[in-house]
Amino acid sequence: MAETVFARPESLADVSTHYCPGCTHGSIHRLVAEVLDELGVRERTVGIAPVGCSVLAYNYFNVDFQQAAHGRAPAVATGVKRARPDLIVFAYQGDGDLASIGMAEIVHCANRGEKITVVFVNNAIYGMTGGQMAPTTMPGQVATTCQLGRDVDSAGHPIRVAELMATLRTPAFVARATVHNPLVSIHAKEMLRRAFTYQVEGTCFSLVEVLSTCPTNWGIPPVEATGWLEKNMLPYYPVGIFKTPESGSREPKPLVD
């Protein structure tokens, strides 16, 4: 008898996404869905969709969903979780959504210690609106609003979200992962599993930053895009766990006392 050992998780709706060929948003969706299945929480999960390429996530997950205003998914998630603490609530956000317009909301949601999970997809660009510079765009990387490449003198350096969030005093789980090849995806899933588990256990806020490709707006084919990610993003955005509820404060001490 043939046994199916890899198939669509129940938490993922049986539809084709609108994502471009090779866009790893799709992979991240599947990892999240698998974790929801494995933890057995699908029927009490509410997802929050951002504004960004994943705005239609509500069509792709087989769980209840709310679509949030641009950047405000953590606030919406707070509303849901405070209203119904028994629900498992996760926000799915892009880098423009979370790190640009939504910076205040994510910092405060984490700092309040809302017991939700944030899946943060860092593809170093504004995908949906056609390739503008994101806060996470790499130095020198070309985007439609920095057509000569990001100039760190006028636009600053890319923001490292996992590092930033890890410095808050309130206990949390913060990690970074990537899905540019299947082996690292296994690590990504492990990070997501831990993040959701902390929520299921009511321990703390959790956030997993996942590096992702945008072949379309990077202007390179999918396979090359995974290479570009590895070569350019990975050194600047190291994967790993940046904070656990046990790790205590990770803020820098004064240089001079």
Binding site: H18, C20, P21, C53, M128, T129, T216
Partner: protein, 187 residues
């Protein structure tokens, strides 16, 4: 007198470009013109299209629900726009990628294997130019010389491609003009 056309195809086929060239040529001829692309978070890989209006009076609505002509570069475009064409209008089908004919019988239909023609000319990316030429041949919406002038301006920085594109345009023109014989297109 107003000419209008919807040109439609896959994202990478250079549809928006030939629409712009047509509008430019119209402008050079002293006509009023407008060019309007479909826009937004396209489902990538879907269709891209643009509407060009050329008129001797200020252009009224730049959105044309019932165009006088449609250039369909792929099947989804044909399916989407064939029903909208004005009675008696022109339907130009890229038969290289579309293996069916028109469904309506009240149109002037011109089938051009644009990709093959372009490949034969050693310019496989020139299918759009062939199609533009064919549209001109079938309608004389603007004089072909005017478009040739626009090609020269557009590719001024890459002179290598000027001639091949003019060639593709001319070839398309011939095919389009031939197709409209014996009865002239009313559009």
């Amino acid at each position: 007198m107003q000419r209008d056309v919807i040109m439609a195809g896959f994202g990478g086929q250079g549809i928006l470009l030939i629409g712009k060239m047509l509008a430019y040529a119209g402008m050079h001829e002293g006509m009023e013109v407008s060019w309007l692309p479909s826009y937004g978070p396209e489902m990538r890989g879907g269709t891209a299209n643009c509407t060009v209006v050329i008129s001797d009076k200020p252009v009224g609505s730049p959105v044309i629900r019932s165009p006088r002509a449609v250039v369909a570069m792929n099947l989804p475009s044909l399916e989407k726009f064939e029903p909208d064409i004005r009675e008696g209008g022109l339907l130009l089908i890229n038969s290289s990628l579309i293996n069916r004919g028109a469904e309506r019988d009240d149109l002037t239909v011109v089938e051009i294997p644009a990709n093959e023609v372009a490949s034969e000319l050693g310019n496989p990316r020139g299918a759009n130019m062939v199609a533009l030429g064919a549209y001109l041949g079938a309608t004389d919406a603007v004089p072909i010389d005017s478009v040739i002038e626009v090609i020269r301006e557009t590719f001024a920085a890459k002179p290598a491609v000027i001639d091949v594109n003019i060639e593709a345009l001319r070839k398309g023109y011939e095919l389009g003009a031939a197709a409209r014989q014996p009865e002239p297109v009313s559009a």
